[in-house]
């Protein structure tokens, strides 16, 4: 009676299982194609990543090594402390220029001492070998310890960026011949000094600790101020965006009534997350600098702008993390007589913590790498002085890592390109650390449900 309603094997001829039928072959082929697309996409992404990293590291690793000249320097008391009373006020009156002359004399003496002869070496080549920054460094050293005056010390001084570039492969004898800032004779002198063991390329801590330097002395430029500025801004973001963002997410997800107003707020938070960052820069310029009168280039302003930008990026993942907590937990807490707040803070929040923390850290990592809004509030300025310790330091001018990268790529001397790549490596290292920290926190707090 009901047999007719079942399609039976008689209609489709039975085939062997040992050979795939055309339909199965087609499906398998489609699946194989899809897998191939996926693999190709991943391969392309990996190649891009490798190219990116190789470019950055090959260009930037040099910033962490620097060529130094070590020579004995006689700190002549007659030049540095004419009154002979070792009064710091009087020593301060001696300018960098005098120290430059002392260094030139020391280099002359060292060359004569070792009997180095270089044909066609001019005075300019000779004094140009030593970085302009070296005399300032030496003056700082003497000011810090006036007792050195009158002694002969072993001074480790920076050499000119071109000579440094020669040992990093950026400058060759041919290019030096066309270069007004160096000459083949200078490079030969450097080679001779190197042969004597006086000139060496060594690890360069000062790249991480020293401030930016002017266009003429790329060898002295460092990311110290930029790291500190970025750190201060991250402090502002951590202090403001994280508590406000997490609290807003908890309120919106757990306490707010569902009505038209909360819908509007929700849509606007999502929109805010998609606003281009430069718009936040204009907002910061108008609101914090022009209206509130906060200083330009200050980490506090940069931090506040980044807070505005980071807020939606913290709120959205935090809400998602709260939403992912099973509602049965809320029921359980309410069922034993916990208040709404107890149920949220005792049970829901601990379960949502790993997700919230991941969002927070990724939001902060994005803020750390943000450049555009900082350009508009003057953080691209040349800052040579370190900001003071917070909280006052938040109002001092500072740079930021991504802005420092931008700044250096704008300069003429190719030595700054190396510095920019070096700064990118520092930035990437920070981002990597933050992401690893996020993974660590997620592992640590993740609970099996």
């Amino acid at each position: 009676m009901s047999d007719a309603s079942f399609p039976t094997a008689a209609k489709t001829p039975r085939t062997s299982l040992l050979a795939a039928d055309p339909r199965t072959r087609k499906r398998n082929a489609a699946e194989a194609r899809f897998r191939a697309y996926g693999l190709a996409a991943i391969a392309v992404a990996l190649v891009m990543l490798v190219v990116l990293l190789v470019t950055i590291f090959s260009g930037g690793i040099g910033a962490f090594r620097q060529t130094y000249l070590t020579i004995p320097v006689t700190l002549d008391a007659a030049q540095l402390d004419k009154k002979g009373n070792r009064n710091p006020e009087d020593i301060k009156k001696v300018l960098t220029l005098t120290y430059g002359k002392i260094l030139d004399k020391a280099l002359d003496a060292a060359i004569a001492d070792k009997g180095i002869q270089v044909a066609g070496l001019s005075d300019k080549d000779l004094s140009g070998l030593i970085s302009k920054e070296a005399s300032a460094d030496l003056r700082d050293r003497v000011l810090a310890d006036p007792g050195l005056i009158g002694q002969t010390i072993e001074a480790r001084v920076l050499v000119n960026g071109r000579v440094d570039g020669y040992y990093k492969g950026r400058v060759s004898m041919e290019s030096a011949a066309r270069d007004a800032n160096t000459s083949p004779a200078q490079l030969e002198l450097a080679d001779a000094l190197k042969a004597q063991g006086m000139l060496a390329t060594a690890w360069n801590w000062s790249f991480l600790t020293s401030p930016d330097a002017s266009d003429q002395r790329p060898e002295a430029a460092g990311v110290g101020v930029a790291i500190l500025g970025s750190l201060y801004m991250m402090l502002v973001v951590l202090a403001l965006a994280v508590p406000i963002g997490v609290a807003a997410a908890i309120y919106l997800e757990e306490f707010a009534p569902r009505n038209r107003w909360t819908d509007i707020i929700e849509v606007n938070i999502s929109n805010l997350a998609a606003v281009p960052s430069i718009v936040f820069g204009i907002l910061g310029l108008a609101a914090f600098i022009n209206f509130a009168g906060l200083p330009q280039s200050a980490p506090i302003v940069g931090g506040l702008v980044l807070v505005l930008m980071t807020l939606p990026r913290i709120i959205i993942p935090a809400r998602a993390a709260l939403k992912a907590v099973p509602p049965s937990i809320r029921d359980a807490a309410l069922g034993v007589g916990a208040s709404r707040m107890q149920s949220v803070f005792h049970h829901v929040l601990p379960l949502a913590t790993p997700g919230i923390l991941t969002g927070v850290i990724l939001g902060m990592a994005q803020a750390l790498g943000e450049t555009a809004p900082l350009l508009l509030i003057g953080m691209v300025a040349f800052v040579k002085n370190f900001p003071a310790a917070p909280p006052e330091g938040l109002f001092d001018p500072a740079s930021a890592l991504p802005v420092q990268v931008y700044n250096w790529t704008q300069r003429a001397d190719p030595a700054f390109v190396e510095r920019a790549s070096g700064a990118i490596i520092v930035l990437l290292a920070f981002l990597l650390c933050m992401n690893l920290f996020a993974i660590f926190l997620r592992r640590k707090f993740e609970r099996r449900w």
Binding site: P257, R258, P326, S328, I329, R330, D331, A332, A333, L334, G335, V336, G337, A338, S339, Q342, H346, H347, P350, L351, R447, R448, W449
Partner: protein
């Protein structure tokens, strides 16, 4: 006359009303989920709510401890009184009410904390223990009450989520019992459990009857017949019939009840 008063008092004790509902109406948005429910739930008694899916029995259960408050679109009208006090009165704090009317849910939902903390949570937030020793005592008593003590006494610091399904549900019962409620609501407590665990829970329900008023929603008519003294049959949002379990199952008055228990509707 004196005799009569004594007899009346005895009657009163037997039929001591714990919860009385009058004209309860529940709407979820436009949906009229519960229509004019009148019922008196007795103390120290197991009352079973039976009926087909979507008949409103769980909705009514959740009205008794105001868990429906957490659903925005839910509106409750009518009067539900616990010991004569209207629980929907403006002055009633639902949190205080839920401490007196405990609840066990369909799916075992222990907190992702230790077994000890699961049970101790309620007493802690309600301040039922003055010190650690008292709290330990409450935890032990509750776990014994839920027939779980012997199985977990050596691993109180293990996570509650690591127990088996039946143990988890008994842990949830212990957690509910620990706050010393007067009424215990159970929303299909055995639907996620195997027959052996179900048997253990049913046995437990029978023991708990001496201390609490129990209300249990169940899909299994056999279970209702086994554990309850009173049964209420819900159908399409109406309370069709309410009476002693024996009467409902052997001598139903309403034809709909008869159809349901004989398996013709459901």
């Amino acid at each position: 006359m004196n005799d009569m008063r004594v007899a009346e008092a005895r009657m009163q004790q037997q039929t001591d009303t714990k919860i009385s509902a009058r004209g309860v109406q529940v709407h979820y948005g436009d949906k009229h989920a519960l229509k004019d429910v009148n019922v008196d739930i007795l103390d120290k008694t197991v009352t079973a709510f039976i009926g087909p899916s979507g008949c409103g029995k769980s909705t009514f259960l959740r009205c008794i401890n105001r868990m429906n408050d957490t659903i925005d679109i839910c509106r409750v009208a009518g009067r539900i009184a616990l010991d004569g006090e209207d629980i929907y009165d403006r002055r009633v704090d639902p949190v205080q009410l839920r401490a007196r009317v405990g609840m066990v849910f369909q799916k075992p939902n222990p907190f992702p904390k230790s077994i000890y903390d699961n049970v101790a949570y309620g007493p802690r937030i309600h301040g039922l223990a003055r010190n650690r020793a008292e709290l330990d005592e409450i935890v032990e008593k509750s776990l014994r009450g839920a027939a779980l003590w012997n199985e977990v006494k050596d691993r109180l610091n293990d996570p509650g989520t690591g127990l088996s399904g039946g143990q988890q549900q008994r842990l949830c019962i212990a957690r509910a019992v620990a706050t010393q409620p007067e009424v215990l609501l159970m929303d299909e407590p055995c639907s996620a459990l195997d027959p052996i665990a179900t048997g253990q829970i049913e046995e437990l329900i029978d023991q708990l009857r001496t201390e609490f008023s129990l209300v249990i929603v169940t899909h299994s008519m056999q279970q209702a017949a086994r554990v309850s003294q009173k049964t209420a049959f819900f159908h399409l949002g109406n309370l069709v019939e309410y009476g002693s379990t024996e009467d409902i199952f052997t001598n139903p008055r309403d034809p709909r009840t008869e159809s349901y228990i004989s398996g013709r509707i459901g």
